[in-house]
C-alpha cells in the first residue's frame, strides 16, 4: 500500500484529467449548436435589415410591379392563404381518416405493415416528385388546370404523411382502458371513434396539421412544377359576393402565385432594389411559418393540460 496522501493526489489528478474532457465536449457541443443557431440568426437579421424598411401597408396591398419601389406581395400572400385553406381542407379528412383506419379498423397483417412502411417513406419523397405527380394527375388527367385547387391538393399530398403519423401517435397515446370502457358499454367502433378517440386526439391532430402546413407554405418546387405564375397582377374572384348565392368557388380554379415563388422571382432580378423586396417577403414568410409553429405548440400545451392520463 502506498502512502495515503500520494494516493489522494493521484486520484485528484485523474479526476482533473477526466473533467477536462467534460469541458472540451461542452465547448464542442456548444459550437455545434451555435453553427445552426447563429446561421439562422445571421440570415434572419440580414433579411430583417434589408427587408424591414420595405415593410409598409403598401407592400401588403400592392401587386408586383416592374418598379421595385411600387411592387408588393398582395397576390402572393392572398394566394398562399387560399392554397393553405385548400391544403388544410384536403389533408385533414384524408390524413385523419387514414390514421383512424390504420389504428382502429385495419386488421394487423402484412398488408397494413406494408402500408405503414409506405406512409413513412412518403415523408421522405422529394417535394418536386409530388409536383410531377400533380402535373400529370391533377393538371392533365383531371383537367384541374394550373389552379389554386391543384396547388392545394398537391401540398395536401405532400403533408399527408406528417398528418397521418402525428394523428396515429395522438391516437396511440389514448390508453386502451378508455377504449375498453367505451366498448364495454356497448359502443360500436364508430361510436368509440367519434365520441372518444377523435375528441381526445384532437390536440395531436391539430398540431400535426399545423406543422404540416408550416412546411407546405414554404414549398416552392412542386408549386412551380404545376405551373404557378411568377408574375400576377390580379386577385382570384372573391369567395363572398353581394348577390345570391353569396358564396362563390370560382377562386378555386383561378391562377395564382404564392409567397416563396414571389420571393424567388425577385431574387433572380438584377436590380438591387428587388433584393430588398425579396428580403421583406422572406421576412413575412418566416414570420408566417414561425407563428404557425407557435400556434401548434400553444395548442398542444393547452389541450394536453385538460387531458392527463
Amino acid at each position: 500500500m502506498s502512502d495515503p496522501s500520494v494516493r489522494l493526489q493521484k486520484i485528484r489528478a485523474l479526476i482533473a484529467a477526466h473533467k477536462r474532457w467534460d469541458i472540451i465536449f461542452g465547448v464542442v457541443g456548444l459550437l455545434a449548436l451555435m453553427a445552426g443557431v447563429l446561421t439562422f440568426a445571421a440570415l434572419f437579421i440580414e433579411m430583417a435589415i434589408k427587408g424591414l424598411p420595405r415593410l409598409s401597408w403598401d407592400f401588403f396591398t400592392s401587386f408586383p410591379s416592374r418598379k421595385p419601389g411600387e411592387a408588393g406581395i398582395l397576390s402572393a400572400w392572398v394566394g398562399s392563404i387560399l392554397v393553405m385553406v385548400v391544403t388544410a381542407l384536403a389533408a385533414l379528412p384524408l390524413g385523419v381518416g387514414a390514421a383512424v383506419y390504420l389504428e382502429e379498423y385495419a386488421p394487423k397483417n402484412w398488408m397494413t405493415d406494408l402500408i405503414e412502411i409506405n406512409v413513412t417513406n412518403l415523408a421522405g419523397v422529394p417535394s418536386i416528385i409530388y409536383g410531377l405527380l400533380a402535373l400529370g394527375l391533377f393538371v392533365y388527367q383531371f383537367g384541374l388546370g394550373q389552379s389554386i385547387l391543384t396547388a392545394g391538393l398537391t401540398l395536401a399530398l405532400l403533408i399527408l404523411p406528417v398528418v397521418i403519423v402525428t394523428t396515429r401517435e395522438a391516437i396511440r397515446s389514448i390508453p386502451g382502458a378508455i377504449r375498453e370502457g367505451a366498448y364495454a358499454l356497448g359502443a360500436t367502433k364508430w361510436q368509440t371513434t367519434s365520441d372518444h378517440i377523435l375528441p381526445y386526439a384532437r390536440g395531436g391532430i391539430l398540431t400535426g396539421v399545423i406543422i404540416g402546413m408550416s412546411r407546405a407554405i414554404g414549398e416552392t418546387a412542386p408549386v412551380i412544377t404545376i405551373g404557378a405564375l411568377t408574375f400576377i397582377a390580379f386577385l382570384p374572384p372573391a369567395p363572398v359576393q353581394g348577390e345570391f348565392p353569396f358564396l362563390s368557388f370560382e377562386w378555386i380554379m383561378s391562377p395564382f402565385t404564392v409567397m416563396p415563388i414571389q420571393m424567388f422571382n425577385w431574387t433572380s432580378r438584377p436590380e438591387a432594389a428587388f433584393q430588398h423586396n425579396a428580403a421583406a417577403a422572406g421576412l413575412v414568410l418566416v414570420v408566417m411559418t414561425l407563428s404557425m409553429n407557435a400556434l401548434a405548440i400553444y395548442l398542444r400545451y393547452r389541450l394536453r393540460k385538460k387531458i392527463k392520463w
Binding site: 378508455i178 366498448y183 358499454l185 381526445y200
Partner: protein
C-alpha cells in the same frame, strides 16, 4: 316470494331459496393464439347472487370474466370454444351469430383501474344511454341521478355534475365507473378486481355497494383478495392454471374445502 317496489321502478324480488342460474358456462375453453388460457370450464352463475372468482395471478380468472362480455373479440387471435348460456332466453353469448355489442348491452363491466372518460361526471354516466340512442334530457337527467344514487356517489357530486371526472378521487372514480355501468340497467355486472388500486376505506365502500347491488343484478367478481371474496360473495370458484378446481357456497369453500389444492391456497400455503 316477497316483491318490493324500488324507487327506480324495477321490482326487486328478494332472493329465492333455490337460486336460478343467470348464466352457465358449458365446456368453456379460451386461447390467446396458441396459448390455451381456459380449459373446459363448467360453472353456473346464480341470479341476484355474488359469485367470486379467486386464484393465483395468471390462473385465468380475468380471462374467464372477460368472456362474458366478449371483450376478447376486440383483439385478434383469440378463440372461444364451448358455450355461455344466458338466461332466461337461453342465448349462447359466444355464438358467432350473436353480436358482441348486444352482449355488452346486457352485461356491464367495471374494470380493475377506474377508467372514466375525460368528460364531465354527467357525461360519463350518460354515455351508455347515449350509445343506446337516449336523447331526451329529462330521461338522461333521471337515469344519471338514479345511477349515481345507486353507486352511493350522488351526494358527493350532485353540485358539480359538469366537473371533469378526473378531478374525483380514486375511490370516487371507481364508484363513477360503477354508476356508468349501472345506468343502462344491466342484467349482469362484471367486476375485474375493482378495488385493487384503492385504499381500505374506498375498498370498504365499494364492497358495501356490491352487497347492496346484488338485490337487483347478478354479479361476477374477480378478486385476488380472499378476505374480499369471503366478505362479499355468496358463491366462490377457485381457479388454477386455467381450470376450475372447486366451486361452491362461499362458506363451504372457505371453511371446508373438498379439494386439497383449494385448501392449500385458502390457508396461504400456496399462491
Amino acid at each position: 316470494m316477497v316483491t318490493v317496489a324500488m324507487p327506480h321502478g324495477l321490482p326487486a324480488i328478494s332472493p329465492a331459496p333455490v337460486p336460478l342460474p343467470k348464466a352457465e358456462t358449458r365446456g368453456l375453453s379460451f386461447s390467446y393464439g396458441t396459448f390455451q388460457a381456459l380449459q373446459h370450464i363448467d360453472l353456473a352463475i346464480y341470479e341476484r347472487r355474488v359469485t367470486a372468482l379467486i386464484g393465483p395471478s395468471g390462473c385465468g380468472k380475468s380471462t374467464f370474466l372477460r368472456c362474458f362480455n366478449r371483450m376478447h373479440d376486440l383483439y385478434p387471435g383469440n378463440r372461444y370454444e364451448g358455450e355461455i348460456r344466458f338466461f332466461p332466453d337461453n342465448t349462447n353469448l359466444l355464438d358467432p351469430h350473436v353480436d358482441p355489442i348486444e352482449v355488452r348491452m346486457r352485461i356491464s363491466m367495471v374494470f380493475q383501474k377506474a377508467n372514466p372518460f375525460p368528460k364531465s361526471i354527467y357525461e360519463n354516466v350518460a354515455y351508455g344511454l347515449r350509445v343506446r340512442g337516449v336523447k331526451r334530457r329529462v330521461t338522461l337527467d333521471e337515469k344519471v341521478e338514479e345511477a349515481l344514487r345507486d353507486a352511493a356517489l350522488w351526494d358527493e357530486v350532485k353540485d358539480r355534475l359538469n366537473d371533469l371526472a378526473f378531478n374525483l378521487s380514486g375511490g370516487q372514480q371507481q364508484r363513477l365507473c360503477i354508476a356508468r355501468a349501472l345506468a343502462t340497467d344491466p342484467e349482469m355486472l362484471l367486476f375485474d378486481e375493482p378495488t385493487s388500486a384503492l385504499d381500505p376505506i374506498a375498498t370498504a365502500s365499494i364492497e358495501g355497494l356490491i352487497t347492496e347491488l346484488k338485490n337487483r343484478v347478478t354479479i361476477l367478481i374477480v378478486t385476488h383478495n380472499m378476505q374480499q371474496a369471503a366478505r362479499v360473495s355468496d358463491y366462490t370458484a377457485y381457479m388454477y392454471l386455467g381450470r376450475l378446481i372447486e366451486f361452491g357456497v362461499t362458506d363451504d369453500i372457505f371453511l371446508k374445502p373438498k379439494r386439497k389444492e383449494t385448501e392449500d391456497y385458502i390457508t396461504g400455503r400456496f399462491g
